[in-house]
């Protein structure tokens, strides 16, 4: 499959849509449609999860009322199978906590004219030294 020339626009619009759903507790469960039942991996703070059910279970276990975020930058690359690699660098704030920087990487895999999230890695940017 050829490289997708729209990779940059796809990356940006995916990120916007993904977080719009994630940050709204009512719409968050619909993220299940972004992942594959089996062929999706997520690594959340080092914990590896496979399949949409396990990934959604993780999201449901996160305890906060409100989350808001600012995206600093979205970098994308076309992949040789027609997919898109996306790296997000941003800052999120949960309830009354101080804001935290974070990093999230997605791999979108093409499927029947659309995409699903095949890989997803999330980390807060917290270091071992100040």
């Amino acid at each position: 499959m050829a490289l997708n020339p729209q990779y940059d626009a796809i990356g940006k619009s995916f990120v916007q849509q993904y977080y719009m759903l994630f940050d709204d507790p009512i719409q968050r469960p619909s993220l299940v449609n972004m992942y594959n039942v089996e062929h999706s991996f997520m690594t959340f703070e080092g914990k590896q999860l496979q399949g949409s059910a396990k990934i959604m279970e993780k999201f449901e276990s996160l305890r906060f009322q409100n989350i808001s975020r600012q995206i600093t930058v979205v970098d994308s690359q076309p992949m040789f199978d027609g997919g898109v690699l996306i790296n997000v660098f941003g800052r999120l704030q949960v309830d009354t906590d101080p804001p935290h920087d974070y990093n999230q990487v997605f791999v979108l895999k093409p499927l029947n004219g659309s995409f699903f999230v095949q890989h997803d890695i999330f980390r807060l940017n917290i270091h071992n030294t100040a």
Partner: protein
């Protein structure tokens, strides 16, 4: 130097158990709070006097708080480094936060300076009696099994908040004093009788002064 000891404590426990309110209550709402975003730490400081054997010791207490990153399970080892004592909190109105205490103790044993660090277990939100789901005897039984002092606290009313911190200060200071005293006695605790005599015995697995 205007203090004798710098003592660093960590407040740990699930998000929402009231760690920040607890520390706020202890410092009477008056503190320097400094947030270091790269390590995700929020810390406050307070001066106190600790009396022992008729001597006043000036203590500079640093209370380290998470900045919410425990919601994501992302505490780094930097957070535990150099901490001398731990305030371990759960919410008396939240069963899950009590069940998670076991995991927190596990984490402490891995990351703290020694395998049996000084911990004070606090069942917080004791003022919300009508919403309590963790009974006092259950919490006490758990604390006894794990050899932890247990206090029911309320960050809202201040119940037992000072006592919890003071209990931890007592434990940590007596550990420090014991270590200092023993180190001054020749032939005790791995210290050679004669300074010229090498101590070739292998140190035990404990890397702390307990």
């Amino acid at each position: 130097m205007d203090y004798d000891y710098l003592v660093k404590f960590l407040a740990l426990g699930d998000s929402g158990v009231g760690k920040t309110s607890f520390l706020y209550q202890y410092t009477d709402g008056v503190f320097h709070s400094r947030f270091i975003s790269t390590v995700g730490i929020d810390f406050r400081e307070k001066r106190m006097i600790y009396q022992s054997k008729g001597i006043n010791h000036r203590i500079h207490l640093q209370l380290w708080d998470t900045a919410g990153q425990e919601r994501f399970r992302s505490l780094t080892t930097a957070f535990y480094r150099d901490a001398m004592g731990f305030l371990l909190l759960f919410d008396l109105t939240n069963e899950q936060s009590f069940l998670e205490i076991r995991n927190w103790i596990e984490q402490l044993r891995i990351h703290a300076y020694c395998e049996v660090p000084d911990i004070v277990l606090c069942g917080n939100k004791a003022d919300m009696e009508e919403r309590r789901v963790v009974s006092e005897w259950r919490a006490r039984e758990f604390a006894e099994q794990n050899k932890l002092p247990y206090l029911e606290t309320s960050a809202a009313t201040g119940q037992n908040v000072n006592r919890a911190v003071e209990t931890l200060v007592d434990r940590v200071m007596s550990r420090i004093e014991t270590a200092v005293d023993r180190a001054m006695l020749p032939g005790r605790r791995g210290r050679p009788k004669d300074p010229n005599e090498l101590n070739l015995s292998t140190p035990t697995s404990q890397n702390c002064f307990c």
